[in-house]
């Protein structure tokens, strides 16, 4: 036990003596949280919509009034008047406009005659987000224009009433769970994987191997130190990330305790996984080379960026075996839904179990000799 703690002491002294490691391990997830959190998930505002009006009648005026209302209220787009459809199309193509609406000649007459006229919408569908947003806005406008002026006495319509369990979750809050897991992964990768292989290559482990330390003490010492580093990184990012995303739940004692449990189990799972991957590696280039691949393979299928249910089957299979998935699910359940222990019980079980199993596999593979 004392010898194991000596390994932990050595690792932690090194860790605190090189604060750069801690900074680096948190830099990527923090930058990702801030940039991606603000870049995605926001609603489209201030798009430029060209309007070519060949009608100029009373019904076209209703469309102009609706556009003015959009420009003032939800501000999805503002309009620019065009005389020529070709010019408007060209400007959409070159990016001067985000979309263009074509009101055809005789539009008002056909509306009043009940002749179902069509309004044209030109969109740049190379940008799916923008085109979907403009299409949705125009669709709701058309539905409003189609609504009868005089309502029927008995309305035969089924309505869907949506009940939102939680307040509106901004994307940054959604992303925070993945960022915490990512920070812990980077801490384990650098503080565990890379430093472990570097130490091996520099002969530091040779120094350990001539002492009476047992294989189990050495394995447990290295893993305990790695887990502590990941926990520290996870705690720091949970606090900083929650403050940035405006999540105050972390200050509730029960929530804080559950978060700590989740951070602990995640660090054990990640550390066990990393140790298993690195236990027979000798070349210091290997962990550096696989860092990006592993990051992509573990982070993106976890549901950190978008829901797992939207993945194809093969990607879902990766998500099922990926410890990131359970960490992200657990953090979301606590940070966004205040789910309590019941919501994260299976995540905790998987993460602790995963960590123990990987460590049990790695221990016999660990060589007590050179």
């Amino acid at each position: 036990m004392k010898r194991m703690m000596a390994i932990v002491e050595r690792e932690m002294r090194k860790f605190f003596r090189s604060p750069a490691l801690m900074m680096v391990s948190m830099m990527l997830p923090l930058v990702q949280l801030i940039i991606l959190g603000n870049a995605f998930g926001g609603k489209i505002r201030g798009a430029r919509m060209g309007v070519v009006d060949y009608d100029r009648g009373s019904q076209a005026l209703r469309i102009h009034e609706a556009f003015d209302s959009i420009a003032v209220n939800i501000r999805t787009f503002t309009t620019v008047a065009y005389d020529d459809e070709q010019k408007a199309r060209e400007d959409v193509r070159t990016g001067k406009l985000d979309g263009a609406v074509i009101i055809p000649a005789q539009y008002s007459r056909r509306v009043l005659a009940g002749d179902s006229p069509a309004i044209g919408l030109v969109v740049d569908n190379s940008d799916q987000t923008m085109s979907n947003s403009l299409e949705a806005e125009m669709q709701s406008l058309v539905e409003a224009l189609n609504a009868p002026v005089i309502q029927q006495k008995v309305v035969q319509q089924i309505a869907l009433e949506i009940v939102e369990l939680y307040p509106y979750v901004e994307y940054m809050k959604y992303l925070l769970s993945g960022s915490i897991a990512l920070a812990m992964y980077v801490a384990v990768m650098i503080g565990g994987g890379m430093l472990y292989i570097d130490d091996k290559a520099r002969g530091v482990h040779e120094g350990y191997l001539v002492t009476p330390i047992t294989k189990l003490e050495l394995v447990l010492g290295l893993n305990l130190a790695g887990a502590i580093k990941a926990v520290l990184s996870g705690v720091c990012l949970t606090v900083i990330g929650s403050l940035l995303a405006g999540l105050g739940v972390i200050f509730h004692p029960i929530t804080a305790m559950l978060l700590f449990l989740l951070i602990l189990s995640t660090s054990i799972a990640f550390n066990g996984m990393m140790f298993l991957m690195m236990v027979r590696v000798e070349d210091p280039l290997v962990p550096r080379a696989i860092f990006g691949v592993l990051n992509t393979l573990l982070f993106f299928p976890s549901g950190a960026i978008s829901p797992v249910s939207g993945f194809p089957k093969w990607l879902r299979a990766i998500a099922v075996a990926d410890p990131f998935t359970y960490a992200v699910h657990g953090f979301k359940a606590i940070l966004l839904k205040d789910g309590g222990l019941a919501a994260i019980r299976m995540d905790l079980l998987f993460l602790f179990g995963f960590g123990i199993v990987t460590l049990l596999i790695a221990t016999p593979l660990f060589k007590r000799t050179l």
Binding site: I7, R10, E206, Y208
Partner: protein, 337 residues
């Protein structure tokens, strides 16, 4: 072992190490007595480090056995580890930790009791002259100081037997001499048995009570430095360089009185082993004058371990040393030792 014979500190019997078809160490046998400094001399790749790694439990033994302080390295590795101190070839102290922290961590790894730990650290820091550097981070130390720290680290648990794998490789001449003096002092004050591997002849000559010459994984000679030198035919070495030495010169040099061997080196240089240095030198000068040959340089010296090595292996160790000096452990990026 015989009942009357004192138990050897190290007893290696027909030890073998194979990596697939390659035999790195092929059946070496020797014993090291208590309190002795024993040198394993040989060029890089001779099998010295493999041999020391087997004796220190770092790599498994393929065949034969090694008994260290009465314990079999294959059967009782933990008992061996408690008895020995090891200084690996590479500088393995942690560069981010201070001198004292490095020693403290290793004291804990050896489970040195807390009460003894501090006293032992103080004593060793004084012995290796690092007392005033105790709080310095290891990365700020020079190569010589780091090697001294490693020596202190290897002795933190007061071992009986000390293994040093090329302890002065990469050090400047002043630091090397300082390490030799320190090792001699430690051996006397701590009653240590030491086994040192080296490819430096002067190091082996100056430090070791007995030397084993290892080449291609085999033991080719084993004795005291004096006895080894005496075993080489000829007691002197004459080195002469001629301006225009012709092809028949080696044969002519061999006919000089007392000459037992002539070795032709580059740039008209010849190395003669002779039993009578002064007579050979006189005849050589006369022969050069009579032949109209100019002698560029001439020196006479006693037989060295270099000559012993050439005699037993048929190779120049100095060539191997040049190669070895080219090998320096890669420093940690951004850290100047």
């Amino acid at each position: 072992m015989n009942a009357g014979k004192p138990v050897a500190a190290i007893a290696v019997e027909n030890i073998v190490k194979r990596y697939g078809d390659f035999e790195a160490v092929g059946g070496i046998t020797f014993e090291v007595a208590e309190g002795e400094i024993f040198g394993l001399l040989g060029p890089n790749g001779a099998g010295k480090s493999t041999l020391i790694r087997m004796m220190t439990t770092l790599i498994p033994v393929t065949g034969g056995k090694a008994i260290i302080a009465g314990y079999d390295v294959s059967r009782e590795p933990d008992a061996v580890r408690r008895t020995i101190g090891v200084i690996p070839q590479a500088l393995t102290s942690d560069v981010d930790l201070t001198v004292e922290e490095n020693l403290s961590i290793y004291a804990k790894l050896y489970e040195v009791p807390k009460a003894e730990r501090q006293r032992s650290i103080e004593e060793l820091l004084e012995a290796v002259d690092l007392l005033k550097w105790r709080g310095a981070q290891t990365k700020t130390l020079s190569g010589g100081m780091r090697r001294r720290l490693e020596i202190a680290r290897g002795l933190i648990h007061n071992p009986r037997i000390f293994f040093l794998d090329e302890p002065t490789t990469g050090l400047d001449p002043v630091s090397r001499v300082a390490v030799w003096e320190m090792l001699n002092h430690l051996k006397n004050t701590r009653h240590l048995t030491m086994l040192i591997t080296t490819h430096y002849m002067d190091e082996a000559d100056r430090l070791c009570d007995r030397i084993a010459i290892v080449d291609h994984g085999k033991l080719v000679a084993l004795d005291t430095p004096m006895a080894l030198k005496a075993s080489v035919p000829g007691t002197n070495v004459v080195e002469a360089q001629f301006t225009h030495a012709s092809a028949e010169w080696p044969a002519r040099l061999k006919q000089l009185s007392g000459v037992t061997a002539v070795e032709s080196q580059s740039a008209g240089m010849y190395r003669l082993l002779t039993s009578n240095g002064s007579l050979t030198t006189t005849q050589l000068v006369e022969m050069a004058v009579n032949s109209g040959e100019t002698i560029k340089s001439l020196s006479v010296q006693n037989t060295t371990l270099d000559d012993v090595f050439v005699h037993y292996t048929g190779r120049q160790l100095r060539d191997e040393q040049v190669k070895a000096l080219g090998f320096v452990m890669p420093p940690r990026p951004g850290v100047q030792p």
